[in-house]
Point group: C2
Chain length 324, copies 2
């Protein structure tokens, strides 16, 4: 059983330990990168040794965060994680650390409690919001680099302050960070949300043109196979953000994106507008996440996986799958 | 010559006048609708009579704002405008009021000073931000309807807090409005930024696939003719937001969208990333706007209009148009 601790206790933990490995989840997004490196920069400013560990390379788009980052050499003593709901998501490269995580900093309500200590706020938009609160309440200094990281995570997980999970607190933290550190948010947000390679633009066009609208127009489904990605010349990374595309269709309550992982194995990303609890449905398939955005892995071919998800969603929408 | 007045003076004006026509620009966007109706609801709450006037119908997407709005019958006495930089933009239906506008509430630095009194802040993200300051400083009550309007305008003009023009003040106002009025921002932002008709989605795909990337990859140009719109079954309204598409291409500094108004007459929308002052270029062609987003009308066929814009942009990017 993991012990839940307060922001102040977490700050105390960071002050009294040293030689950190900070683990983040595979296929890292802006909140994983932001919370991992944001914590790392804050620890280094405290005079600690710290490195961020990820089983995948950090995507090129976050190079503005890694600009001045170099891994340090030291004898590893303390293992913590940020934005990690489940040790399964560490990936193969880091799975050896699964049983030795002393402190988990998270915002997922589905956090499995794998760490000795957990500092968690399911009401927080992002792990970066939790990090901000720890540093503020614990009076740990925030440098411009850390501020940039925290903004990145909050912006990523709120869809740039667009989603329902955007609280007044998100806006207040953003206001403070922009004001104090003169963050170049126009440039950062273009990198995070707008700029795409020509290949990615063409890939998204293809995905939209092949999207299926089902369940009386309330559910849109995108299916991405390896062969589609090869044809368009895009990588796994380029498919980031695709999961929000089904939600653009008028009248849609649930958007589902199926990504082929291996033969007969799909990663399912689910989004909802106002009614469906995605986290609850994905948990039934061994996954997790948030109310409006969650994911899971389902075995089967694309048709089978799609049917499993539709069968779970239809009754919540009050639709008889066999009549729809 | 128009006289610039303070927020407090503007609040005093609103308290001491009555029977308002509030004029907004043709082809109204979220900030025009938000500032016009936001002011209207606030005036009505003060016990005043007020109607919003626009020469175009208010787009369907803003129906959450107009839900409880009914035009009132009264003898018109006072004419004000919101979010209107130039009386040319009133459109034919309202051009008769051009010389009789007593107070202009605006945030465009290109405001031509057409009103007797102008309350203006070029540092404000939106007319709605100016409206919020007037109501707050003047202690004029803000109802939930007005709060919804103000949020709509700020969100619209900052690209949902994404663009460079997003200041700490924008975030602080958003935080206060969400907190005090429990605004359903998830739903509103989906309406404002995400949801599209199938026709619009297909139209955007077509536009992206035909986009030209010019000037050493630094300028992307979209050209929209009436025939393209007819083919896809989209209206003028559906082309809203298209101007941001060229900015998605990696490496782009300037995005240009040409929309055919009549034969040999194009509306040019210009966006920039970090260097080019769009407002300055558009003013050369008799238009105006903001540093990162501006517009103008240019006569000629699509090729001629494109060349005029490229010739203006190329030297700023340090590119020789004839070698590029």
């Amino acid at each position: 059983m993991s012990k839940n601790i307060s922001y102040k206790d977490a700050a105390e933990f960071f002050r009294t330990h040293d030689n950190y490995y900070i683990l983040i989840h595979q296929n890292p997004d802006g909140d994983a990168v932001g919370s991992g490196f944001g914590l790392c920069f804050a620890l280094r400013l405290l005079g600690k040794k710290a490195n961020v560990m990820c089983s995948d390379p950090i995507p090129e788009k976050y190079s503005y965060i890694l600009k001045d980052y170099e891994p340090q050499k030291f004898n590893h003593k303390t293992t913590v994680s940020t934005d990690l709901p489940d040790v399964k998501l560490l990936g193969k490269g880091l799975s050896g650390y699964s049983d030795f995580i002393e402190l988990a900093l998270d915002h997922h309500k589905s956090n499995t409690g794998f760490a000795d200590l957990t500092v968690q706020d399911p009401a927080a938009s992002s792990a970066c919001e939790v990090l901000y609160e720890i540093l503020s309440e614990g009076e740990i200094p925030i440098s411009k680099e850390t501020a940039l990281c925290i903004y990145t995570g909050i912006a990523t997980d709120t869809g740039c302050f667009k989603y329902e999970c955007t609280t007044p607190r998100c806006h207040i933290i953003a206001a403070k960070l922009i004001e104090q550190y003169m963050l170049p948010i126009g440039r950062i947000n273009r990198i995070l949300f707008d700029i795409k390679s020509t290949e990615k633009m063409k890939f998204e066009q293809k995905v939209i043109s092949e999207m299926q609208v089902l369940l009386d127009g309330k559910c849109a489904v995108i299916t991405i196979n390896h062969s589609d990605m090869e044809k368009c010349g895009v990588t796994e990374q380029d498919t980031e953000g695709v999961a929000s595309l089904p939600m653009q269709v008028q009248g849609i309550e649930v958007g589902v994106t199926l990504r082929e992982k291996e033969e007969n194995r799909y990663k399912v990303s689910m989004r909802s507008a106002e009614i469906v609890d995605c986290s609850e449905i994905c948990r039934r398939f061994g996954g997790g996440g948030h109310t409006r955005a969650a994911g899971c892995i389902i075995e089967g071919d694309a048709d089978q996986v799609r049917m499993k998800i539709l069968a779970a969603v239809a009754p919540i929408l009050g639709i008889d799958l066999w009549l729809a």
